[in-house]
């Protein structure tokens, strides 16, 4: 035990004396959560749009009023002719132009449908997409009001089936993902780097020649990262609750336990990476390419798994992060208990056992 404490103490010296690892450990989680929370957002606010109204009738006035009354858009300019559209986009301020066809009201009443063109500046495809969805949603809600009193429902084309959710907050989506990425990064990347560093410096050899058993060396190296990862998880949860008002519907205790399980899964992965890489650089590359990218792209963090092509959906199953994100979302947003997420929990535990088993095997081969 005394040896173990000495070992852990030395490990903390390494961490606290290296500015870079300190930054990765504590700077990054905070920076990422704030970035994802504030800057990288799918919401739009007061986007400047322009209107080209060929009919200037009651209906178009009402729609325009409704659009400008929302907080999402502010009307920057009224255009007179089609050729103005390009020049207004070129100036860059206006992100979308709504083009009402001629005789908008008349068509709506006589033929039950009329057309509105939503032209968006697609240099930023995400925003463009969001804008057109929001416009459609406002049109839908306008039609709903109008159609209450008429027998034959009016239609405005393009029609959309999007269900509008005024409370949609992207930060709710990002917090579980960011938490997953950070725990993964700190646990897997930092441990694999710190173990390979000992190999690179030759100190691993000295440790293996000492009476310490190999597993004692590994546990001694990994232990500080369990501790630091837990602190990180707490920081992220506290930030998301107090700064982004993210709800935690379920049990905080369960969330904590699940986080510890995921941390151990990641540590096991980190150990595995360290057994297959000889240098810190290799370990870092494998961690970044092999862990970060799949976590960001395939875990459902940003892109929903259900909308991926089937082969990718299948691949996503082997990514531990996917299961942890399901668990975190379940606990934080839906308030579910263990009876709903025991399957995901078991998968994580299974993966952990698998990774540890594999590392022990690899480790032995290296010792031969």
């Amino acid at each position: 035990m005394k040896r173990f404490i000495g070992f852990v103490k030395k490990e903390f010296y390494h961490i606290f004396r290296d500015k870079r690892s300190l930054f990765i450990l504590f700077g990054m989680p905070i920076a990422q959560i704030l970035l994802f929370g504030f800057a990288i957002t799918n919401e739009i606010n007061n986007v400047d749009i322009a209107i080209l109204d060929h009919s200037k009738d009651v209906t178009t006035q009402e729609i325009i009023h409704k659009i400008s009354a929302s907080n999402y858009f502010s009307i920057h300019q009224f255009l007179e002719k089609e050729s103005d559209i390009e020049s207004v986009f070129k100036k860059g301020k206006v992100k979308a132009v709504l083009n009402f066809e001629k005789d908008f009201s008349k068509n709506l009443i006589k033929e039950n449908h009329s057309t509105i063109q939503v032209i968006t500046d697609a240099t930023d495809p995400n925003t463009a997409n969001t804008i057109s969805n929001y416009v459609n949603a406002i049109l839908q809600s306008y039609l709903k009001e109008q159609n209450k009193n008429s027998k034959t429902p009016y239609q405005i084309i393009p029609q959309t089936h999007m269900v509008y959710n005024p409370e949609l907050k992207s930060v709710y989506m990002f917090v579980p993902g960011v938490m997953t990425i950070i725990l993964m990064l700190v646990s897997a990347m930092m441990t694999s780097i710190s173990i390979t560093r000992e190999k690179e410096l030759g100190t691993m050899e000295i440790l293996l020649v000492s009476p310490l058993k190999p597993f004692q060396v590994i546990i001694g190296k990994v232990f500080p990262y369990i501790f630091l990862s837990i602190i990180n998880a707490v920081i992220i949860i506290v930030l998301s609750i107090f700064i982004f008002k993210m709800p935690v519907q379920g049990s905080l205790f369960l969330l904590g336990v699940e986080s510890v399980i995921f941390i151990i899964t990641s540590l096991a992965l980190g150990i595995l990476i360290s057994t297959i890489s000889a240098t810190q650089q290799t370990a870092m590359m494998i961690s970044l390419m092999g862990l970060m990218l799949p976590v960001i792209l395939l875990s459902g963090f940003i892109f929903p798994v259900s909308s991926m092509p089937v082969p990718l959906q299948v691949i996503s199953n082997i990514i531990p992060a996917k299961w942890f994100i399901i668990i975190v979302k379940g606990i934080m947003l839906k308030g579910v208990g263990l009876q709903f997420i025991w399957k995901e929990t078991l998968i994580l535990l299974g993966m952990t056992v698998f990774f540890i088993g594999l590392s022990i095997k690899k480790y032995k081969i290296r010792l031969e």
Binding site: K2, R3, K9, H14, L201, I206, L208, V209, K213
Partner: protein, 243 residues
Amino acid sequence: MMQENNVIQVKELTKKFGDFTAVDAITFDVKKGEIFGFLGANGAGKTTAMKMLIGISNPTSGEANVAGFNVFTNAEDVKKNIGYMSQKFALYDDLSVKENITFFGGIYGLSRKKIKEKSNALIKELGLEKIANHLVGSLPLGWKQKIAFSVALLHEPKIVFLDEPTGGVDPITRRQFWEMIYKASHEGTTIFVTTHYMDEAEYCDRVSIMVNGKIEALDTPKKLKEQFNAKSMNDVFLKLARG
């Protein structure tokens, strides 16, 4: 048939990597308190042989006893009784001299009091008072080498294994380092040292020379020179290596 005096006994020790035989049935003994030079060109198999003796590599066949324990079956006991210094003088660059000593003393299970005594004695002996709290990374290579050697001796091992301990340091520092080796040897520690500096071979009590995984010569430097009719160990080595 263990002989009291032989702290290392190696019999037909072999290590194969696939088809390649890195160490080919080597047999030798090392006596207590002796400075045993383990020579060979790069790739001759000396590091592999040494790794088996210090218990971090399993032999394919053969037998080896170190400090009275079988390296196959009692690797843990072997490890408690040996010290090891690698060619990288591996210390932690981001720990101070004192912290390194404390750490390595700790993993060998020395008591806190003992570590303190030892580290004070060591710092005084090496004249490190001024830099005891400096990070090792800021010290010149010669210092690191001396500290690494002292750290390897910290738990008073019966045998200390030195893997090319003088690589990359200047002749004066090398000289001083050999004085440290002699001192440890006088105090009863057996020294097992690999090197490819042939002038250093002259400092050893006995020398073995490995060529292609086999020990081709083993005797005192003086006798080897007579045997091969050579002026220096360098000539002996060249004659052997050329076959």
